[in-house]
Amino acid sequence: MGGFGSWRRVSTPVIVGVALALGASASAQEPKPGGVLRVGLQGDFTTMDPHMSTSAEDRDLYYQLYSPLVGLDANLKIVPELAEAWEQPDPLTYVFRLRKGVKFHDGTDLTAEVVKWNFERMLNPATGSIRRSELGNVKSVDVLNPLTVRINLKEPDAVLLATLSDRAGMMVSRAAVEKHGKDFARNPVGTGPFQFVEWAKDDHLTVRRFPGYWKSGLPYLDEIVYKPIPDHSVKLTALRTGTLDLIDDLPPKDVTPLKGNAKLRVIETPGLGYRRIELNHTRPPFNLKALRQAVAWAINREAIHRAVFFGAGAPAQGPIPPRSWAYEPLPGYGTTPDLAKVKEKLAEGGQPNGFRFVLNVVNTPVAQKQAEIIQDNLKRAGIDMEIALLEVGAFDEKRRALQFDGAEGRWSGRVDPDGNMFAHLITGGANNWGKYANPRLDDLLRRARSAAQPGERKRLYAEALRIIIDDVPIVFLHHDAWTKAWDTRVQGYVEIPDGRMRFERVWLGR
């Protein structure tokens, strides 16, 4: 990501080549244009305005409607999208050169002015955009010429490019926002491969091929229809009966039986996020390091991995998934329990006969099953854990009010390791629910955030991870996989490890 002063550039044909090579494992045929792809989703989208979105799942739509400034490849490397090249003349400055001739679905042009306006929209407190905190380091944006923008930072920010590959980098049409105001959320206009057609909430959302898409020849599909289907077994039935072509977010228990079906393909992508237990550091028992360690060492993550997730994904020993460049195996609590160690830690924490605590759990089947396994693991180690199953609103309220010992949680994960650690572990961080505070870790995470060279960042993260696994601010449990299943006639799908669906290269065979 570094390389001051040199334009980073990968021409479009190279990306196409990579994508085709990946798609080729599914089929060596020529892509066939046309057809309607029917996609089954667990829940409906919330808004079509990427700057206002608060739901990770919304992104499954956004990569069709919008293009981000930069993209991700299958190895999570940053690649050009709307910005065909960028440079970082100094640690506080990014200069992006925009692609020429990019049109919004309403016919307006993507210019440096529009990009500047997009950033200012997100940064303006009156917009109420959740992107504002993601772009907290952006001081100002300047237009250098009609196709070049300069982003000025308050502090060095190694995470910015990863942030711009997501919703904060998605450019919306200024003309459309000015025309529709708040209703832009239901009348979206972007530069993506598909344009919006209609949305009947909880029934379907349709997008159609945008003929003026800047990647010529793409997309292949004529139309995509998204259908939210809350019931898993019905969603599966719809796939089996050919009512749908592709479904998302399969429950782990349903994956194995599907694998034997020759008409269907199942794909499990190791995700970037994690499941965890947040610990309340402001009161006993978990204000004591030894007792936090006792819990961490007593959990059988391998059993959770097999019984709850049926072997999809990976047991977690920390916030960084094995797929990340920052990952490294560390000494510390492992995938299977170590009861001798637990005993030692209990004695060290002054509770040789074990102790009692309550785990707050949101009442979903997966979270409940996971909690029951943990309860059993801890019982064997002499720790008595009570499970409090809560509705999501009540869970949230108690967590914010620090009315918990432990709280089961899930983080969807970010491309850059910073997104999996910083706000969760830093003193006063927005996601640091248990009020953990460790100045040494704060310092490491801050330095890693602004370090320019990946080698330097990796070293800093390795040090931070050693603290995280020893001090147990949070008990990490599992890295879930993104699971999708589709009819074998769906071709050319390129799986990006952020788990989001991108359909510009997908086509229908037969």
Binding site: T46, T47, M52, T54, P125, A126, G128, S129, I130, R132, S133, K182, D183, A185, R186, A200, K201, D202, D203, H204, K227, P228, I229, P230, D231, S233, V234, T237, A238, R240, T241, T243, E391, V392, G393, A394, D396, E397, K398, R400, G409, R410, W411, S412, A423, A430, N431
Partner: protein, 314 residues
Amino acid sequence: MLGYLLRRAGAMVPVIAVVSVVVFSLIHLTPGDPVNIMLREEADPATAATLRRQLGLDRPLPLQYAAWLGRAVQGELGRSIRTNQPVTDAIRQRVPVTLSLAAAALLVALAIGLPAGILAAVRRNSVVDVAATLVAISGVSLPSFWLAILLILVFSVTLGWLPPLGWVSPGRDLGAWVRSLVLPAVTLGVAIAAVVMRMTRASLLEVLELDYVRTARAKGLAERRIVLGHALRNALIPVVTVIGLQAGALLGGAVITETIFALPGVGRLLVDAIFQRDFPIVQGVVLVLALNFLIVNLLVDLTYAWLDPRIRYH
């Protein structure tokens, strides 16, 4: 008659007012804040505060209620916190689905329940009666999610006759609309059919014991004419009451059936809104539901007079 209608309509106002106050209080008493639920893990306090201010959620509750009421009497129910969609649009979009489903389910219920009830009463204690009673008891006892899945497996997966899910508007494709309603309507209708059957049977048996039926028989009228022409009409009054109550409940949306068949009805809108603490949607939907219930009740009362001309309203 007109005076009666006006009085009934006038009586609806305090009922609706009480419902809206109760719903407003209950949803705000429930733990959970809409902005926090919406932002979930991404919440940073500054953004949350901005959103709360924009949505007017930082004001005292009585003021929030007054503001809502002021707009509601003008037919303006606000916008969804979650999706920013106007509440009236969201409801308008769902009503055709719920109305179709309710009508189709009642049709199924009447088509099965009435003939079965009449047969069971006329052939009291016969094999037909026992069989109809058994079917009715099973109909009431079957959980709808189980029946729905079973119907999908048989009629969509195995036979491939009907779509397993989804909603098609009648304006787009009339045939597809009917096909999309069959399975959910049967799922819902079977349980109601059982209630209708039991009620018809009991009520008809009672009427068949009355003097005027004996007189009719003495006059030598055909049994068929006696049952269908004379007795049934009187026997239907309690049946209509039951159907009215069921219709009112159906208009509130059948959440389980709507969820399984992925139908975008009122029930799903309301339940999702409750989970997300989407106050404007919850208040708007409950308001409309309460109104529906009152109107259905009024229609039921008017039907009594049509069935039994001795009943008069003043």
